[in-house]
Amino acid sequence: MHSILAVDDSASMRQMVSFTLKSAGYKVTEAVDGQDAYDKAAMGGFDLVLTDQNMPNLDGIGLTRKLRDHPNFKTTPILILTTESSDQMKQAGRAAGATGWLVKPFDPVRLIEVIRKVVR
């Protein structure tokens, strides 16, 4: 079973993401912001990170940058799921090392399709 780290400061979003991923058979660990996610990610064992962008303490792009510097996350897919849709932000995400950019709200079927595509 693949393991996913789901990061969002909104409790309702974490619930929606977890419900969708667990329904599709994934194991889900939740984190409330980028720093919490980094602390949990450092323990290892994740096949994908799905993170929000705008969060307190450490945002999604900052988290992506930090994870890419970590030896365990050089190739792990990192998807940013956010309300932000500007090209400037997308490019910043790409430059930080994100695998993809998903604009909220997400469609559960489409989200699972994308995850299946990037998690090998």
């Binding site: 979003m13 309300t83 997308k90 994100a98 993809g100 604009v103 909220k104 709200p105 997400f106 469609d107």
Partner: protein, 153 residues
């Protein structure tokens, strides 16, 4: 003719510098537009959730009907999953709305502080504190609760 006497509490009309008035007007207009958008998002969410609710009730009726054929039951399960998926998308409204409200709140707070500073001047503790206006445009640009785009790099 003597000019009309004024007090510090009754400033003359037009006393506010033009640039500041224009800035405040801009902020208030943006806040108004954001509230309109919030209303549309709320309305869209309610429509979707109601449709999902009624659709799900209909499919449950098919599933619990003993006379219902197996193929009809399979279609009902598929439809039920679709209704659930639409509800999951709509329920993300809370996250979008919270961001929109927080951004608008910061904008309005800045306007209120600017007005207070200009009308009343420094308070007893010194210079009036003005909360900063949002540095970036509102991150929530969605007008409806349709699923957003996906881009893989």
């Amino acid at each position: 003719m003597n000019p009309t006497p004024t007090t510090p509490f009754e400033p003359e009309a037009g006393a506010m510098p033009l640039l500041m008035a224009a800035d405040l007007q801009d902020h208030l207009m943006v806040a108004g537009h954001d509230l309109d958008r919030l209303q549309r998002l709320l309305s869209d969410t309610c429509d979707t959730l109601l449709a999902s609710f009624h659709g799900a009730i209909q499919q449950i009726g098919t599933l619990v009907d003993p006379a219902s054929a197996a193929d009809r039951q399979a279609l009902a399960i598929d439809s039920l999953r679709e209704q659930l998926g639409a509800a999951v998308t709509a329920l993300q409204f809370q996250d979008l709305a919270s961001q929109l409200i927080a951004h608008t709140h910061q904008r309005l707070r800045n306007c209120a502080d600017q007005l207070a500073r200009d009308a009343f001047g420094p308070d007893a503790d010194g210079e009036a504190v003005v909360a900063s206006a949002p540095l970036r445009p509102n991150p929530v640009t969605q007008d409806e609760m349709d699923a957003g785009s996906v881009e893989l790099f």
